[in-house]
Amino acid sequence: AEKLTLMLDWFPNVDHLPIYVARDRGLFEMAGIDVRIVSPSETADALKLAVSGQVDLAVSYQPQTVIAAAEGMDVIAVGRLIEHPLTTLLFLKGKGIEAPPDLSGKRIGYTVPGLMDVMLHAFASLNGVRDYTSVNVGFAVLQSLAAGRVDAVMGPFKTYETVEMAHRGYDVGYFELEKYGIPDYDELIFVCSRNTLNLKEKAVKGFIRAVDVAIGQVRSNPERAFQEYLKAVPEANPETEADAFRLTLPYFAANQNHDPLRWQAFADFALQYKLIGKPVNGASLLRNFDE
């Protein structure tokens, strides 16, 4: 079997569940590949190491991939894992926030400077949020919300922080980006370098197919898939992650067809809001195996 190394975008979580299912049900084996899964030290590492060929494949984000392309990195999206944004603008309920304009004059946090502050700015200008103060809260999302240091945070996942907050007795609401004027995009995708793709096209294709099959199987029997995941990732917390999985399930990619128009729309948005400095041709970043 051909060996492939996959680097996750972050530590293993339910977003990656289909990958573990594919591995543990032998789907990779059937495709003639042997996949090693590793975690990065930081979310940008996966893409960097994939582009440099240190790992074969990486789980990355569509915005990150667009940025990488604008920076001239030779990255190519080969598959999809989560097909809509999970990123939201999260707020605590009961503080008078019902619609985006209610955020005017508030203090709003964001998680990743350079990315989420841009999203916040775009969201605010598209939805009439005025006179707000933005602060970088880093990874202290819950803490800063709960302590009242901020009124909302741009960046948390609607499938994850919401669950954690709920489990701790906080009633949270969120605005979904794609419903408030920000172009729809794929939250999690698989990327690799053009060079890797040339050298290992068959294996990569096999990998994407296997994940696709796994997503179908997960859909058909979520409960069993979740049990398998708990076995594969013993650190997982069964209670909260069950809820997170339930929320994530609808977003797993229904197919492996990249939509060049959707990519282009996001790339144009990124250019407009200065997430990137030069235009990116969306279609050139994509590889659809099913065509």
Binding site: E42, D45, L49, Q54, L142, E164, T240
Partner: protein, 249 residues
């Protein structure tokens, strides 16, 4: 401080009591700062998991200590014996202290892969600096009169090093080593951010990402105990090695 004297005295009890009270009466949420009692329970309940991760981390730390001592001693010696080396290396060493790991993590992966090497290196890098600086200052603190005595007795560099400078600088070495082993825990943990599959640092990142703050703190408890143990061990060895100082008093 001998291990026996590490038995937590009054101040520690007070510290824990204040912490516990703060969590209970100020209603500090668990995920901001868990109460010590909660941390204790989690630490005991998850002992098998934590211990198995702790083993990995301890191994990395011990190897890191060994590696950094093995490098720091000759480096400090070279810097001491050749002022040109000191002038060259000092800026590099000091500058290296300002490099955050996340910037070099991919590089470490590129060069050393996902195995134990990169973690050991991270731990070693962190311990290295205080040891080298302390040892060098110790060497430099040696009274000139003794150096001259050795020169008059015809001692070469190696002999002077072995018989004079090294015993002279030993207390400083141990001061540096104590600072070093205390921060070595952090070094290994940071190292584990680079593509680890096991270890307390890995566990902490996982738990942190899962917002299991109590488990994070339980892991910190294990790390702290490990750090204390290393400190106490170095202190005990240090005391033995400079017994003549104690005896003189």
């Amino acid at each position: 401080m001998t291990p026996g004297r590490l038995v937590p005295p009054a101040l520690i009890v007070v510290f824990l009591a204040v912490w516990e009270a703060a969590c209970r009466y100020l209603a500090v949420p668990d995920f901001i700062l868990p109460a010590p009692s909660r941390i204790g329970i989690v630490a005991v309940e998850n002992a098998p998991l934590l211990l198995s991760h702790a083993g990995t981390t301890l191994l990395e730390i011990l190897l890191g200590i060994a590696l950094s001592v093995a490098v720091a001693v000759p480096v400090a010696t070279a810097m001491f014996s050749h002022p040109a080396v000191e002038r060259s290396l000092t800026p590099l060493l000091v500058a290296s202290q300002a490099v955050p790991v996340f910037a070099v993590a991919p590089l470490l992966v590129v060069w050393f892969g996902y195995g134990i090497v990169s973690k050991v290196l991270m731990a070693a890098v962190i311990i290295f600096f205080p040891i080298t600086v302390s040892l060098l200052e110790g060497f430099k603190g040696c009274d000139r009169e003794y150096r001259i005595l050795f020169r008059l007795m015809g001692a070469g560099f190696r002999q002077t090093l072995r018989l004079l400078w090294w015993p002279w600088a030993l207390p400083n070495f141990f001061t540096g080593l104590k600072v070093g082993v205390s921060v070595a825990t952090i070094g290994a943990v940071i190292g584990e951010w680079v593509g680890a599959q096991h270890g307390l640092g890995y566990l902490m990142i996982q738990a942190n990402a899962r917002l299991r703050v109590d488990l994070v703190f339980a892991a910190i408890l294990y790390l702290s105990v490990m750090g204390l143990g290393l400190w106490a061990a170095v202190d005990a060895i240090g005391r033995r090695a400079v017994a003549w100082k104690v005896k003189k008093a």
